[in-house]
Symmetry: C2
Subunit: 202 residues, 2 copies
Amino acid sequence: MFEPLGYAPAYLRVSEAIRERILRRDLKEGQALPTETELARQFEVNRSTVREALRKLESSGLLGRRAGGKRLYVTRPTRESVGGGLSQALTLHETRVVDVWEALQAVQPGIAQSAASRRTPAALARLAAAARRFAGRRADRDHAVEDVADFFNALGEASDNPVFVLLNEPLLRLLKPSLAVIIDRVPQARARIETAQKHIVD
Amino acid sequence: MFEPLGYAPAYLRVSEAIRERILRRDLKEGQALPTETELARQFEVNRSTVREALRKLESSGLLGRRAGGKRLYVTRPTRESVGGGLSQALTLHETRVVDVWEALQAVQPGIAQSAASRRTPAALARLAAAARRFAGRRADRDHAVEDVADFFNALGEASDNPVFVLLNEPLLRLLKPSLAVIIDRVPQARARIETAQKHIVD
DNA sequence: CGCATATTATTGTCCGACAATCCGACAGGC
DNA sequence: GCCTGTCGGATTGTCGGACAATAATATGCG
Protein backbone atom coordinates (compact mmCIF):
# COMPACT_ATOMS: atom_id res chain seq x y z
CA MET A 1 0.00 0.00 0.00
CA PHE A 2 2.80 2.40 0.80
CA GLU A 3 6.23 2.63 -0.77
CA PRO A 4 9.01 2.40 1.75
CA LEU A 5 10.05 5.98 2.17
CA GLY A 6 13.53 6.37 0.91
CA TYR A 7 16.11 7.09 3.50
CA ALA A 8 19.67 7.36 2.36
CA PRO A 9 22.66 7.61 4.66
CA ALA A 10 24.63 10.81 4.40
CA TYR A 11 27.64 9.29 2.73
CA LEU A 12 25.39 8.13 -0.09
CA ARG A 13 23.72 11.49 -0.49
CA VAL A 14 27.08 13.19 -0.61
CA SER A 15 28.42 10.80 -3.20
CA GLU A 16 25.29 11.19 -5.29
CA ALA A 17 25.54 14.95 -5.13
CA ILE A 18 29.10 14.93 -6.36
CA ARG A 19 28.36 12.32 -8.98
CA GLU A 20 25.58 14.41 -10.41
CA ARG A 21 27.78 17.43 -10.67
CA ILE A 22 30.32 15.38 -12.56
CA LEU A 23 27.81 13.82 -14.92
CA ARG A 24 26.24 17.15 -15.71
CA ARG A 25 29.72 18.38 -16.57
CA ASP A 26 29.51 20.90 -13.80
CA LEU A 27 32.77 19.56 -12.46
CA LYS A 28 34.87 19.16 -15.54
CA GLU A 29 37.38 16.43 -16.24
CA GLY A 30 40.85 17.12 -14.94
CA GLN A 31 39.57 19.59 -12.42
CA ALA A 32 40.74 19.12 -8.85
CA LEU A 33 38.10 18.36 -6.27
CA PRO A 34 37.93 20.63 -3.23
CA THR A 35 39.78 19.27 -0.23
CA GLU A 36 38.03 16.88 2.10
CA THR A 37 37.79 19.47 4.83
CA GLU A 38 36.25 21.93 2.44
CA LEU A 39 33.72 19.39 1.20
CA ALA A 40 32.85 18.51 4.77
CA ARG A 41 32.25 22.18 5.47
CA GLN A 42 30.06 22.67 2.42
CA PHE A 43 27.94 19.55 2.94
CA GLU A 44 27.89 20.13 6.68
CA VAL A 45 28.96 16.61 7.48
CA ASN A 46 32.03 15.15 9.04
CA ARG A 47 35.18 14.54 7.08
CA SER A 48 34.89 10.78 7.67
CA THR A 49 31.54 10.85 5.97
CA VAL A 50 32.96 12.74 3.02
CA ARG A 51 35.75 10.23 2.75
CA GLU A 52 33.32 7.33 2.52
CA ALA A 53 31.54 9.12 -0.28
CA LEU A 54 34.81 9.74 -2.08
CA ARG A 55 35.79 6.09 -1.91
CA LYS A 56 32.60 5.19 -3.75
CA LEU A 57 33.27 7.64 -6.54
CA GLU A 58 36.87 6.62 -6.67
CA SER A 59 36.00 3.02 -7.31
CA SER A 60 33.50 3.83 -10.04
CA GLY A 61 36.30 5.62 -11.83
CA LEU A 62 34.83 9.10 -11.62
CA LEU A 63 37.58 10.35 -9.36
CA GLY A 64 41.24 9.55 -9.66
CA ARG A 65 44.59 10.54 -8.38
CA ARG A 66 47.55 11.71 -10.41
CA ALA A 67 50.54 9.41 -10.03
CA GLY A 68 52.14 10.00 -6.69
CA GLY A 69 49.67 12.77 -6.05
CA LYS A 70 47.60 13.41 -3.03
CA ARG A 71 44.52 15.28 -4.17
CA LEU A 72 41.64 13.85 -6.12
CA TYR A 73 40.82 14.90 -9.65
CA VAL A 74 37.74 14.41 -11.74
CA THR A 75 38.42 11.75 -14.33
CA ARG A 76 36.31 9.79 -16.69
CA PRO A 77 36.26 6.04 -16.33
CA THR A 78 39.10 4.55 -18.31
CA ARG A 79 38.74 1.53 -20.50
CA GLU A 80 40.55 -0.43 -17.84
CA SER A 81 38.34 0.56 -14.97
CA VAL A 82 35.15 -0.17 -16.89
CA GLY A 83 36.60 -3.37 -18.20
CA GLY A 84 37.63 -4.42 -14.74
CA GLY A 85 34.15 -4.01 -13.37
CA LEU A 86 32.49 -5.77 -16.24
CA SER A 87 34.87 -8.69 -16.39
CA GLN A 88 34.58 -9.06 -12.65
CA ALA A 89 30.83 -9.23 -13.00
CA LEU A 90 31.12 -11.78 -15.77
CA THR A 91 33.35 -14.08 -13.77
CA LEU A 92 30.85 -14.01 -10.94
CA HIS A 93 28.07 -14.82 -13.36
CA GLU A 94 29.73 -18.13 -14.18
CA THR A 95 30.58 -17.01 -17.65
CA ARG A 96 32.38 -19.70 -19.55
CA VAL A 97 35.11 -18.99 -22.01
CA VAL A 98 32.99 -20.20 -24.88
CA ASP A 99 30.45 -17.54 -24.02
CA VAL A 100 33.08 -14.85 -24.24
CA TRP A 101 34.41 -16.31 -27.44
CA GLU A 102 30.95 -16.51 -28.93
CA ALA A 103 30.28 -12.91 -27.98
CA LEU A 104 33.48 -11.69 -29.56
CA GLN A 105 32.75 -13.66 -32.71
CA ALA A 106 29.27 -12.24 -32.87
CA VAL A 107 30.32 -8.67 -32.33
CA GLN A 108 33.39 -8.41 -34.53
CA PRO A 109 31.67 -8.46 -37.93
CA GLY A 110 29.52 -5.56 -36.88
CA ILE A 111 32.47 -3.61 -35.62
CA ALA A 112 34.39 -4.39 -38.78
CA GLN A 113 31.57 -3.03 -40.85
CA SER A 114 31.48 0.25 -38.95
CA ALA A 115 35.23 0.49 -39.10
CA ALA A 116 35.20 -0.12 -42.82
CA SER A 117 32.60 2.50 -43.55
CA ARG A 118 34.54 5.04 -41.56
CA ARG A 119 38.10 4.01 -42.20
CA THR A 120 41.05 6.34 -42.32
CA PRO A 121 44.43 5.47 -43.80
CA ALA A 122 46.05 5.74 -40.38
CA ALA A 123 43.59 3.41 -38.68
CA LEU A 124 43.81 0.92 -41.52
CA ALA A 125 47.57 0.96 -41.34
CA ARG A 126 47.49 0.31 -37.65
CA LEU A 127 45.11 -2.57 -38.12
CA ALA A 128 47.22 -4.13 -40.83
CA ALA A 129 50.31 -3.66 -38.71
CA ALA A 130 48.70 -5.52 -35.81
CA ALA A 131 47.76 -8.37 -38.11
CA ARG A 132 51.28 -8.48 -39.50
CA ARG A 133 52.76 -8.51 -36.04
CA PHE A 134 50.67 -11.47 -35.06
CA ALA A 135 51.46 -13.37 -38.23
CA GLY A 136 55.17 -12.61 -37.98
CA ARG A 137 55.71 -13.82 -34.46
CA ARG A 138 55.17 -17.55 -34.60
CA ALA A 139 57.21 -18.60 -31.62
CA ASP A 140 56.25 -16.45 -28.72
CA ARG A 141 53.04 -17.47 -27.01
CA ASP A 142 52.47 -14.49 -24.70
CA HIS A 143 53.25 -11.90 -27.31
CA ALA A 144 50.83 -13.57 -29.67
CA VAL A 145 48.01 -13.07 -27.20
CA GLU A 146 48.93 -9.43 -26.84
CA ASP A 147 48.95 -9.07 -30.60
CA VAL A 148 45.48 -10.50 -30.88
CA ALA A 149 44.27 -8.06 -28.25
CA ASP A 150 45.96 -5.22 -30.09
CA PHE A 151 44.22 -6.19 -33.26
CA PHE A 152 40.82 -6.13 -31.63
CA ASN A 153 41.54 -2.82 -29.97
CA ALA A 154 42.76 -1.32 -33.21
CA LEU A 155 39.58 -2.48 -34.85
CA GLY A 156 37.48 -0.95 -32.12
CA GLU A 157 39.22 2.36 -32.39
CA ALA A 158 39.00 2.28 -36.16
CA SER A 159 35.25 2.10 -35.81
CA ASP A 160 35.45 5.47 -34.08
CA ASN A 161 32.66 4.33 -31.80
CA PRO A 162 33.39 4.52 -28.07
CA VAL A 163 30.85 1.82 -27.40
CA PHE A 164 32.84 -0.75 -29.29
CA VAL A 165 36.08 0.32 -27.71
CA LEU A 166 34.64 -0.03 -24.24
CA LEU A 167 32.98 -3.36 -24.92
CA ASN A 168 36.11 -4.91 -26.33
CA GLU A 169 38.17 -4.45 -23.23
CA PRO A 170 36.41 -6.71 -20.75
CA LEU A 171 35.91 -9.47 -23.28
CA LEU A 172 39.57 -9.47 -24.16
CA ARG A 173 40.58 -9.44 -20.57
CA LEU A 174 38.58 -12.56 -19.87
CA LEU A 175 39.65 -14.24 -23.03
CA LYS A 176 43.39 -13.70 -22.73
CA PRO A 177 44.30 -16.47 -20.29
CA SER A 178 42.34 -19.09 -22.17
CA LEU A 179 43.52 -17.84 -25.53
CA ALA A 180 47.09 -18.51 -24.49
CA VAL A 181 46.19 -22.09 -23.68
CA ILE A 182 44.29 -22.52 -26.91
CA ILE A 183 47.14 -21.24 -29.03
CA ASP A 184 49.44 -23.67 -27.31
CA ARG A 185 47.20 -26.67 -27.60
CA VAL A 186 45.28 -26.27 -30.83
CA PRO A 187 47.69 -26.32 -33.74
CA GLN A 188 45.37 -24.78 -36.29
CA ALA A 189 44.32 -21.91 -34.02
CA ARG A 190 47.02 -19.58 -35.27
CA ALA A 191 46.17 -20.12 -38.90
CA ARG A 192 42.48 -19.58 -38.26
CA ILE A 193 43.06 -16.34 -36.46
CA GLU A 194 45.39 -15.21 -39.20
CA THR A 195 42.87 -15.74 -41.95
CA ALA A 196 40.14 -14.15 -39.89
CA GLN A 197 42.25 -11.07 -39.38
CA LYS A 198 43.19 -10.91 -43.05
CA HIS A 199 39.54 -11.23 -43.93
CA ILE A 200 38.61 -8.35 -41.67
CA VAL A 201 41.39 -6.16 -42.98
CA ASP A 202 40.32 -6.85 -46.55
CA MET B 1 64.19 4.26 -15.76
CA PHE B 2 62.69 3.33 -12.40
CA GLU B 3 59.25 2.04 -11.68
CA PRO B 4 57.38 4.07 -9.11
CA LEU B 5 57.50 1.93 -6.04
CA GLY B 6 54.02 0.86 -5.23
CA TYR B 7 52.49 1.98 -2.02
CA ALA B 8 48.86 1.27 -1.29
CA PRO B 9 46.94 2.88 1.54
CA ALA B 10 45.43 0.50 4.04
CA TYR B 11 41.83 1.00 2.95
CA LEU B 12 42.83 -0.17 -0.52
CA ARG B 13 44.67 -3.20 0.71
CA VAL B 14 41.72 -4.16 2.86
CA SER B 15 39.28 -3.79 0.00
CA GLU B 16 41.52 -5.80 -2.29
CA ALA B 17 41.82 -8.54 0.27
CA ILE B 18 38.08 -8.87 0.62
CA ARG B 19 37.54 -8.61 -3.12
CA GLU B 20 39.93 -11.46 -3.74
CA ARG B 21 38.15 -13.66 -1.27
CA ILE B 22 34.90 -12.96 -3.03
CA LEU B 23 36.23 -13.57 -6.52
CA ARG B 24 37.87 -16.80 -5.52
CA ARG B 25 34.46 -17.87 -4.15
CA ASP B 26 35.92 -18.09 -0.71
CA LEU B 27 33.16 -15.82 0.47
CA LYS B 28 30.10 -17.17 -1.21
CA GLU B 29 27.21 -15.20 -2.56
CA GLY B 30 24.50 -14.47 -0.04
CA GLN B 31 26.86 -14.95 2.84
CA ALA B 32 26.94 -12.21 5.46
CA LEU B 33 30.16 -10.31 5.86
CA PRO B 34 31.68 -10.18 9.35
CA THR B 35 30.79 -7.02 11.21
CA GLU B 36 32.90 -3.92 10.77
CA THR B 37 34.37 -4.22 14.22
CA GLU B 38 35.32 -7.81 13.59
CA LEU B 39 36.94 -6.95 10.25
CA ALA B 40 38.84 -4.15 11.90
CA ARG B 41 40.09 -6.57 14.51
CA GLN B 42 41.17 -9.15 11.94
CA PHE B 43 42.91 -6.70 9.62
CA GLU B 44 44.30 -4.80 12.58
CA VAL B 45 43.13 -1.45 11.30
CA ASN B 46 40.63 1.06 12.52
CA ARG B 47 36.96 0.68 11.83
CA SER B 48 36.96 3.88 9.78
CA THR B 49 39.51 2.32 7.49
CA VAL B 50 37.42 -0.79 7.11
CA ARG B 51 34.40 1.32 6.29
CA GLU B 52 36.21 3.09 3.48
CA ALA B 53 37.15 -0.27 2.04
CA LEU B 54 33.57 -1.46 2.30
CA ARG B 55 32.25 1.57 0.44
CA LYS B 56 34.50 0.70 -2.48
CA LEU B 57 33.24 -2.85 -2.67
CA GLU B 58 29.70 -1.68 -2.20
CA SER B 59 29.86 0.56 -5.21
CA SER B 60 31.33 -2.10 -7.43
CA GLY B 61 28.35 -4.24 -6.60
CA LEU B 62 30.22 -6.97 -4.78
CA LEU B 63 28.56 -6.16 -1.48
CA GLY B 64 24.94 -5.29 -0.95
CA ARG B 65 22.40 -4.81 1.72
CA ARG B 66 19.08 -6.60 2.03
CA ALA B 67 16.14 -4.21 1.91
CA GLY B 68 15.89 -2.39 5.19
CA GLY B 69 18.76 -4.45 6.47
CA LYS B 70 21.80 -3.37 8.34
CA ARG B 71 24.50 -5.88 7.64
CA LEU B 72 26.34 -6.34 4.39
CA TYR B 73 26.03 -9.45 2.28
CA VAL B 74 28.13 -10.77 -0.55
CA THR B 75 26.28 -10.25 -3.80
CA ARG B 76 27.20 -10.50 -7.40
CA PRO B 77 26.90 -7.40 -9.52
CA THR B 78 23.41 -7.17 -10.94
CA ARG B 79 22.66 -6.28 -14.50
CA GLU B 80 21.58 -2.88 -13.26
CA SER B 81 24.71 -2.09 -11.34
CA VAL B 82 26.97 -3.13 -14.18
CA GLY B 83 24.82 -1.31 -16.66
CA GLY B 84 24.85 1.79 -14.55
CA GLY B 85 28.61 1.90 -14.45
CA LEU B 86 28.98 1.28 -18.14
CA SER B 87 26.37 3.72 -19.28
CA GLN B 88 27.83 6.31 -16.96
CA ALA B 89 31.20 5.76 -18.57
CA LEU B 90 29.68 6.04 -22.01
CA THR B 91 27.99 9.34 -21.30
CA LEU B 92 31.30 10.74 -20.10
CA HIS B 93 32.98 9.53 -23.24
CA GLU B 94 30.76 11.77 -25.33
CA THR B 95 28.94 8.85 -26.79
CA ARG B 96 26.32 9.97 -29.23
CA VAL B 97 23.04 8.19 -29.64
CA VAL B 98 23.96 7.06 -33.12
CA ASP B 99 26.93 5.26 -31.67
CA VAL B 100 24.72 3.35 -29.31
CA TRP B 101 22.26 2.63 -32.03
CA GLU B 102 24.99 1.46 -34.36
CA ALA B 103 26.38 -0.81 -31.66
CA LEU B 104 22.99 -2.35 -30.98
CA GLN B 105 22.41 -2.89 -34.69
CA ALA B 106 25.81 -4.49 -35.07
CA VAL B 107 25.43 -6.79 -32.11
CA GLN B 108 21.88 -8.01 -32.50
CA PRO B 109 22.37 -10.29 -35.52
CA GLY B 110 25.08 -12.15 -33.66
CA ILE B 111 22.92 -12.50 -30.59
CA ALA B 112 20.00 -13.64 -32.70
CA GLN B 113 22.13 -16.34 -34.23
CA SER B 114 23.22 -17.69 -30.86
CA ALA B 115 19.69 -17.52 -29.61
CA ALA B 116 18.44 -19.37 -32.65
CA SER B 117 20.93 -22.17 -32.34
CA ARG B 118 20.04 -22.64 -28.73
CA ARG B 119 16.38 -21.81 -28.70
CA THR B 120 13.83 -23.33 -26.37
CA PRO B 121 10.08 -23.16 -26.88
CA ALA B 122 9.70 -21.04 -23.76
CA ALA B 123 12.29 -18.48 -24.80
CA LEU B 124 10.90 -18.31 -28.29
CA ALA B 125 7.40 -17.77 -26.95
CA ARG B 126 8.63 -14.97 -24.75
CA LEU B 127 10.38 -13.35 -27.65
CA ALA B 128 7.35 -13.56 -29.88
CA ALA B 129 5.17 -12.22 -27.09
CA ALA B 130 7.40 -9.18 -26.70
CA ALA B 131 7.23 -8.53 -30.42
CA ARG B 132 3.46 -8.87 -30.36
CA ARG B 133 3.17 -6.51 -27.42
CA PHE B 134 5.13 -3.87 -29.27
CA ALA B 135 3.15 -4.28 -32.44
CA GLY B 136 -0.15 -4.25 -30.61
CA ARG B 137 0.32 -1.06 -28.69
CA ARG B 138 0.35 1.66 -31.30
CA ALA B 139 -0.68 4.58 -29.18
CA ASP B 140 1.39 4.60 -26.07
CA ARG B 141 4.83 6.07 -26.49
CA ASP B 142 6.43 5.14 -23.17
CA HIS B 143 5.17 1.59 -23.16
CA ALA B 144 6.48 1.15 -26.67
CA VAL B 145 9.98 1.96 -25.50
CA GLU B 146 9.65 -0.54 -22.69
CA ASP B 147 8.47 -3.15 -25.14
CA VAL B 148 11.47 -2.63 -27.35
CA ALA B 149 13.73 -3.03 -24.34
CA ASP B 150 11.88 -6.16 -23.32
CA PHE B 151 12.38 -7.61 -26.75
CA PHE B 152 16.10 -7.03 -26.63
CA ASN B 153 16.34 -8.48 -23.16
CA ALA B 154 14.31 -11.51 -24.14
CA LEU B 155 16.64 -12.01 -27.06
CA GLY B 156 19.68 -11.74 -24.82
CA GLU B 157 18.33 -14.27 -22.39
CA ALA B 158 17.31 -16.59 -25.18
CA SER B 159 20.93 -16.67 -26.26
CA ASP B 160 21.67 -18.15 -22.85
CA ASN B 161 24.92 -16.20 -22.84
CA PRO B 162 25.46 -13.96 -19.84
CA VAL B 163 27.76 -11.75 -21.86
CA PHE B 164 24.96 -10.70 -24.16
CA VAL B 165 22.58 -10.14 -21.31
CA LEU B 166 25.02 -7.89 -19.53
CA LEU B 167 25.96 -5.95 -22.64
CA ASN B 168 22.37 -5.26 -23.59
CA GLU B 169 21.52 -3.43 -20.41
CA PRO B 170 23.72 -0.33 -20.63
CA LEU B 171 23.02 0.14 -24.30
CA LEU B 172 19.30 0.03 -23.75
CA ARG B 173 19.53 2.37 -20.83
CA LEU B 174 21.28 4.97 -22.94
CA LEU B 175 19.03 4.43 -25.89
CA LYS B 176 15.69 4.65 -24.13
CA PRO B 177 15.32 8.41 -23.82
CA SER B 178 16.24 9.05 -27.43
CA LEU B 179 14.21 6.15 -28.67
CA ALA B 180 11.11 7.73 -27.22
CA VAL B 181 11.81 10.89 -29.16
CA ILE B 182 12.50 8.99 -32.34
CA ILE B 183 9.30 7.02 -32.15
CA ASP B 184 7.42 10.24 -31.71
CA ARG B 185 9.08 12.11 -34.49
CA VAL B 186 9.92 9.57 -37.16
CA PRO B 187 6.70 8.09 -38.50
CA GLN B 188 8.23 5.03 -40.12
CA ALA B 189 10.27 4.10 -37.04
CA ARG B 190 7.57 1.86 -35.65
CA ALA B 191 7.15 -0.09 -38.84
CA ARG B 192 10.88 -0.58 -39.22
CA ILE B 193 11.29 -1.89 -35.71
CA GLU B 194 8.33 -4.19 -36.23
CA THR B 195 9.75 -5.80 -39.32
CA ALA B 196 13.17 -6.07 -37.73
CA GLN B 197 11.67 -7.90 -34.77
CA LYS B 198 9.65 -10.18 -36.99
CA HIS B 199 12.75 -10.93 -38.98
CA ILE B 200 14.68 -11.87 -35.88
CA VAL B 201 11.89 -14.05 -34.54
CA ASP B 202 11.68 -15.87 -37.87
C1' DC C 1 4.14 -22.55 19.22
C1' DG C 2 3.32 -17.76 17.81
C1' DC C 3 3.68 -13.11 19.15
C1' DA C 4 4.87 -8.95 21.73
C1' DT C 5 8.67 -7.04 24.31
C1' DA C 6 13.14 -6.18 26.23
C1' DT C 7 18.39 -6.59 25.26
C1' DT C 8 22.15 -6.54 22.64
C1' DA C 9 24.85 -5.74 18.53
C1' DT C 10 25.78 -3.08 14.65
C1' DT C 11 25.78 0.65 11.76
C1' DG C 12 25.96 5.69 10.72
C1' DT C 13 27.86 9.76 12.15
C1' DC C 14 30.51 12.77 14.77
C1' DC C 15 34.78 14.77 17.14
C1' DG C 16 39.51 15.40 17.77
C1' DA C 17 44.18 14.07 17.00
C1' DC C 18 48.61 13.11 14.75
C1' DA C 19 52.17 11.40 11.48
C1' DA C 20 53.47 11.29 6.77
C1' DT C 21 54.01 13.64 2.83
C1' DC C 22 52.88 16.46 -0.98
C1' DC C 23 53.02 21.40 -2.52
C1' DG C 24 54.77 25.81 -3.16
C1' DA C 25 58.03 29.18 -2.04
C1' DC C 26 62.48 30.45 -1.34
C1' DA C 27 67.41 30.65 -0.99
C1' DG C 28 72.00 29.02 -2.60
C1' DG C 29 75.39 26.94 -5.73
C1' DC C 30 77.01 25.48 -10.30
C1' DG D 1 69.28 30.46 -15.59
C1' DC D 2 68.44 26.12 -13.84
C1' DC D 3 68.92 22.60 -10.53
C1' DT D 4 69.09 21.35 -5.53
C1' DG D 5 68.21 21.59 -0.68
C1' DT D 6 65.36 23.46 2.89
C1' DC D 7 61.23 24.89 5.18
C1' DG D 8 56.35 25.82 6.52
C1' DG D 9 51.75 24.96 5.50
C1' DA D 10 48.13 22.16 3.68
C1' DT D 11 46.14 17.73 2.89
C1' DT D 12 45.55 13.02 3.28
C1' DG D 13 45.64 8.53 5.80
C1' DT D 14 44.86 6.53 9.98
C1' DC D 15 43.70 6.25 14.61
C1' DG D 16 40.90 6.21 19.09
C1' DG D 17 36.74 7.02 21.26
C1' DA D 18 31.89 8.35 21.55
C1' DC D 19 26.83 8.15 20.95
C1' DA D 20 22.12 7.82 18.80
C1' DA D 21 19.22 5.00 15.99
C1' DT D 22 17.78 0.73 14.80
C1' DA D 23 18.21 -4.06 13.16
C1' DA D 24 18.96 -8.61 15.18
C1' DT D 25 18.31 -11.58 18.81
C1' DA D 26 16.81 -13.35 23.07
C1' DT D 27 13.10 -13.41 26.46
C1' DG D 28 8.80 -13.95 28.41
C1' DC D 29 3.82 -14.68 27.92
C1' DG D 30 -0.49 -16.24 26.42
